[in-house]
Subunit: 439 residues, 4 copies
Amino acid sequence: MTSTTSAQSKITSLSASHAVELYARLRDSRQLSLDLAAPLSDEDQTVQSMDDASPTKWHLAHTTWFYEAFVLGPHLPGYQPFSDDFEYCFNSYYEAKGDRQPRARRGLLTRPTAQEVRDYRGYVDEALAKLFQRGLAADASDKVGALIELGINHEQQHQELLLTDILSLFAVSSLWPAYRQPQPKPKPEAVADVAPVAWITFDGGVHKVGHDGNGFFYDNEGPRHDVLLQQFRLASRCVTNAEWLAFIDDGGYRDPLLWLADGWATVKEFVWEAPGYWEQRHGVWHQMTLEGLRPIDTRAPVSHVSYFEANAFAHWAGKRLPTEFEWEVASASYSLKGNDLSTNALRPRPAVSADAERLAQPFGDVWEWTGSAYQPYPGYRPAPGAIGEYNGKFMVSQQVLRGGSCVTPPGHIRATYRNFFFPHQRWQFTGLRLAEDAA
Amino acid sequence: MTSTTSAQSKITSLSASHAVELYARLRDSRQLSLDLAAPLSDEDQTVQSMDDASPTKWHLAHTTWFYEAFVLGPHLPGYQPFSDDFEYCFNSYYEAKGDRQPRARRGLLTRPTAQEVRDYRGYVDEALAKLFQRGLAADASDKVGALIELGINHEQQHQELLLTDILSLFAVSSLWPAYRQPQPKPKPEAVADVAPVAWITFDGGVHKVGHDGNGFFYDNEGPRHDVLLQQFRLASRCVTNAEWLAFIDDGGYRDPLLWLADGWATVKEFVWEAPGYWEQRHGVWHQMTLEGLRPIDTRAPVSHVSYFEANAFAHWAGKRLPTEFEWEVASASYSLKGNDLSTNALRPRPAVSADAERLAQPFGDVWEWTGSAYQPYPGYRPAPGAIGEYNGKFMVSQQVLRGGSCVTPPGHIRATYRNFFFPHQRWQFTGLRLAEDAA
Amino acid sequence: MTSTTSAQSKITSLSASHAVELYARLRDSRQLSLDLAAPLSDEDQTVQSMDDASPTKWHLAHTTWFYEAFVLGPHLPGYQPFSDDFEYCFNSYYEAKGDRQPRARRGLLTRPTAQEVRDYRGYVDEALAKLFQRGLAADASDKVGALIELGINHEQQHQELLLTDILSLFAVSSLWPAYRQPQPKPKPEAVADVAPVAWITFDGGVHKVGHDGNGFFYDNEGPRHDVLLQQFRLASRCVTNAEWLAFIDDGGYRDPLLWLADGWATVKEFVWEAPGYWEQRHGVWHQMTLEGLRPIDTRAPVSHVSYFEANAFAHWAGKRLPTEFEWEVASASYSLKGNDLSTNALRPRPAVSADAERLAQPFGDVWEWTGSAYQPYPGYRPAPGAIGEYNGKFMVSQQVLRGGSCVTPPGHIRATYRNFFFPHQRWQFTGLRLAEDAA
Amino acid sequence: MTSTTSAQSKITSLSASHAVELYARLRDSRQLSLDLAAPLSDEDQTVQSMDDASPTKWHLAHTTWFYEAFVLGPHLPGYQPFSDDFEYCFNSYYEAKGDRQPRARRGLLTRPTAQEVRDYRGYVDEALAKLFQRGLAADASDKVGALIELGINHEQQHQELLLTDILSLFAVSSLWPAYRQPQPKPKPEAVADVAPVAWITFDGGVHKVGHDGNGFFYDNEGPRHDVLLQQFRLASRCVTNAEWLAFIDDGGYRDPLLWLADGWATVKEFVWEAPGYWEQRHGVWHQMTLEGLRPIDTRAPVSHVSYFEANAFAHWAGKRLPTEFEWEVASASYSLKGNDLSTNALRPRPAVSADAERLAQPFGDVWEWTGSAYQPYPGYRPAPGAIGEYNGKFMVSQQVLRGGSCVTPPGHIRATYRNFFFPHQRWQFTGLRLAEDAA
């Protein structure tokens, strides 16, 4: 793609190598969204299953609008928006950007069509190429580079949501459609049972947590600061489906004393008897997956459990959830490589580590609920303007999750990364790892 | 289409000419649904705007399932359903046919796709052709002929709903998409104002109402019976948008004394200030139509008003709504020709009659709310089985409408035809004609 | 009470005897409300069980406000309202009288206290005595007499509601409190079984229905007019609890094909398995009554069934409900005497008639659901102003009931009397009598 | 009261002086509840204004049931419960104690009557006297003493709720009833303006927080542990009504960028324009108080603001809320004496401290929202059984408040005391004190 190359070569004040690398990642990221949507019909891309989920088409368009609103509009002279209507349609929650399509009604937008959204993506991608090609004013390039970095990370978040939201949509259909056909079965040696949990001890004392500022991070990961921890232990791996079945069999969903009060109310209201997407067929537990309705893999980490469920399980097990800082301190030295979107498994896999001294699967597989409420770090201040709405305004009533999942795009996760959901939500790939006090 | 012709020639015990005629109408009816859906993308066909409305795709499939469930399954030996899942997906409300996709969640079915539904239609159409071709057992042919007749009429109802439901969907979009591009403006002579209302007197006494049994009719149109009427007068034409604007300007939507109690509660709950789909743009009232958002045509009949509104308007005007029997007696002698779907106007048109002695536009344009609750006629008994669920089980809390609308398929309407909606509903092309006592 | 007598003697233009009689009835009516409230604590009188029901205290005050608003304020010179706040508190639904306490929040009014309400009643009663004592201006007396007549009838309606509303309140308590202690058991001879249903035939043809204008009637009972009926038959008595048990045992509450669509939705939403207030205790059906939770009397008319249930039962029995005009024509010649509030039974009693040629219990025991929607009679016009809101604005979506109940005050019911409730409501003493076509 | 004295003298293994002191406090506490209810009619005591609030009568009975369920039943041999029904009626949320009256329907219980509840209190108080009189088994006395201590503290919490709940009830009445008549106006010298806010600096470093175990405390106040704080500053006094008016006037309730996302949704849903109970009358802001509707005292601390509002205000002011640990460290050395229930003011009073170096009003006046989510302390474990449900099961989605209010009973508050409410709730006397980073 000649024009791209020349575009990169003309970037002025971003360092040339940074510009080349940034543009390459931008293009890959833009392409990945299209690849993820490719197995879906235009109809699949239009509907939303519930208020919390968005249509595929909306994800494709919103991530594009983000560049239009925050990068091209302000920083590409003469840029004309693709359509005057799209800001209303595809703004997610930026109050500073004005009125928008109500979240619960995103699935009513049959227009613009999926094809128009793809055209929109092409139009914006071309403008982004032009932005790189023509270079940036010296005084703006750092800022624009940072915004593009944010745009890439933003799109990665929506890539994960695109997959969890389409799973949510297919799960409400009695036809149980598969996002993709089931992959060939793993070889026999792979089906060995997982190792029992080992308990790994971590030292108390003052630790640094939060992002150190080198490389991209979200504002909610900072400021880096000291926390005081007591000695603690973490389970070597996540809780498995087999362990969850034991919880079910022991009446876990029927004993109010195991549950937070709001959790028990939720169990009763929605008649929960098992994790999300679990269905009993002919006496066998199945789970709706991106490959359709499949028998439970007892060795794999349990997934699609809410904070309420994770907390009740920990209570039942006589343990607790780790705090987000315990988790961060424990995982800080680990490789970020794991069962994320790059493995293309699209489901959590059994822990394979044989080393009882090391955490298995800290990154990938399932987001791990922590016992920490989502709150600002000391000294946290949101950025001014719309970008400042990214994280800070959600800092109440939610719980922090750590570690990424099997559908998190590679390169997106970090030890300091803070995800957050309400305690009843469970349409993400969410699981848990137990902790205990060391004393 | 040779096979069709030969099919028809082989029909055994339906009279040959009846079979030919019936099959021709069946084919036309099946084609019309596809034609009506043709301007819509597959995405447009998938979504529903609200619980009361269904996706286009669902209409296309449900009308097809009707033949499968009631005609082909029971009467075409060896018939295999297209898919085991479709009865669940596309049964509307027949309790006798078992569980089904909840009405409010029809719009979540991205699978089967619109293309699969079109294939389903082709498959069933072919089987219907085969049914005609192979002939029918003598003892079944009358019954099967009646069921096909019912199927055609059933599909006509859904053709009307298809259009009103897509209008409802497009009306919730801030883009105001048009089902079709606006037609060329009418010629100058057509824009003359409508004539003032004349009051036409009809005699009291005992009248016959209800269908006489010649030709197709729904069970709720019978039994034909005597009713006793007092002398009454009907307005020569429907209430116009201009007249409705006067009602608005006079505070009609702000005076509780004009309204039924439930109507006033509805006005307040939904903050009604004008008929459905009315929007003020730059101080001018527009209405969302199948050609997009268009300025109000003050001469045309008001449309998309609920029974609550129609009743309040009549109260305000010092008149009342006609009973369904007054309407039927008054209209019995009129031609059924009017501004229905065959004119392709897709909107109510101004009354053009210059004859103050005759009712203008009794058929077509807008369904006319009557003051009659939807109740069974004396001696009414629903048919046994699923077909008996067609009409009878809705005979409570609804009001009767008469006369058909601008999107009623030609051949579907009759003077005895009873449509019915809840008093708050207004997404159909619903208007009113005033009445008064003659005394 | 001397002052009263002298008051009556001074009435000017109402005929003296009418004034005496009217004032006596007024006093009795005012006293009856207090008597009915006497067994209740002030707390019992304050709370409402649901939106449809009102607190006892509210009934006591609202019926008093009615006189203040429509009689004393306009017609007793110098009358000062007891309190400026009470119009807001105790207006029921008269839009013409301004804003008011929302219906669903009447039970939040702990102030004014029950004692203040009793004081309010005393204050207004004294003013009413003064009104009679001082006489009325000649030109107003007919009108005021009519308003007092309306006030008495209005209070009678609320006396019935007071009892059904307190039953509703006590029925939500797990303590099942009794409004009064159970009465002694009937003598042995009284417990004989009821006679089987006989079918009594009534002639078709043109009949007069509606009130003839002699004596008090509500505006919705007129104008008197002709209706054309076909020959029909009515059951000699109401459906009994024993018959209803057969319906339950036959799966009546589980077969959707017996039900109106809205009825079936209601059955599922509220998990109805039996009439209102029925509870199974140790395998025996009981019903909450004004004497607490009591075993079902199988011989008594079924009560607390909704229109949906009555309609489904009739469907199950292969019969139908009578129309309101059939009921009126059939009952027109019967004595109004029956098991109403004057018997002090406070519950429906078994039919005792041995005469198979005559209707048993047309008046009293249970309100009988008819198959007629509540609609205006030909020529009906509501009165102007607030009084005109009494009946007319409810004429949609409800069904007519006839005949009064065991808690209807004596003198309140007539053959032309039209009661009306929504088809799902069943907190009144509502039952049914079956009908069939004679042909 | 002779019997009491002798009762105390017989206590065996509690130290005699402890028993005397405990019993005296128990009696005072039991009496205080009755005193607080005394100004209320039985009707006032029966109704609840909303799901979050309970009737006075229920508070009186529930605090009594607590002794019956946890003290008398297990520990007074031969104790007979007052009524078999009361556990169902008056259990609040102890799942371990079985089914109970749904919280939102507590206001439907007109039976037991308020008088029966008073009798219940007498019966239980007598049994408690007997428990003290007869002495306790040596092995149980510590445990029973602890349970009685818990019972006293439990009742204190409900004494505060009794007042805030009755305020909530009276606030929904258009009559604005007063719990008590307004007190005489303060003297002129008292109406001087409050001092401007001073900022008081506190050192960072490791601090001990949580209860040290001497004396009564709730389980959620422990374990005592180290926390690491950064240097910070607290405002010398709470935010006043005058300051809140400035926030309102500056459009605070109209600017979404100031608010948490859930907070803004709440503002829009409930159309919040001012703190709870604020009403504009003739252009002047009033607030509903326990003395009825009164003009705002601009110098007093703002009250009845939710966490959402407190957070938005802090954002608007360019400050933040303190964490609960900052608050605790800062207040640890202060006297607990303040404007609590013992002053009988029943409303927050202006800060009077002239000393800019010291916190004014840390205890009493208003509960101060902190920026800390309500979470367990490290090592926290709830007690086993029903008592363990007291605090732990609410540790999600709520925020911590500190310091007590003008209706907190004296002796109830401590520097380590953690109150908690959902971020939208504001029917308590809740306000805020600002904080800022010291750097």
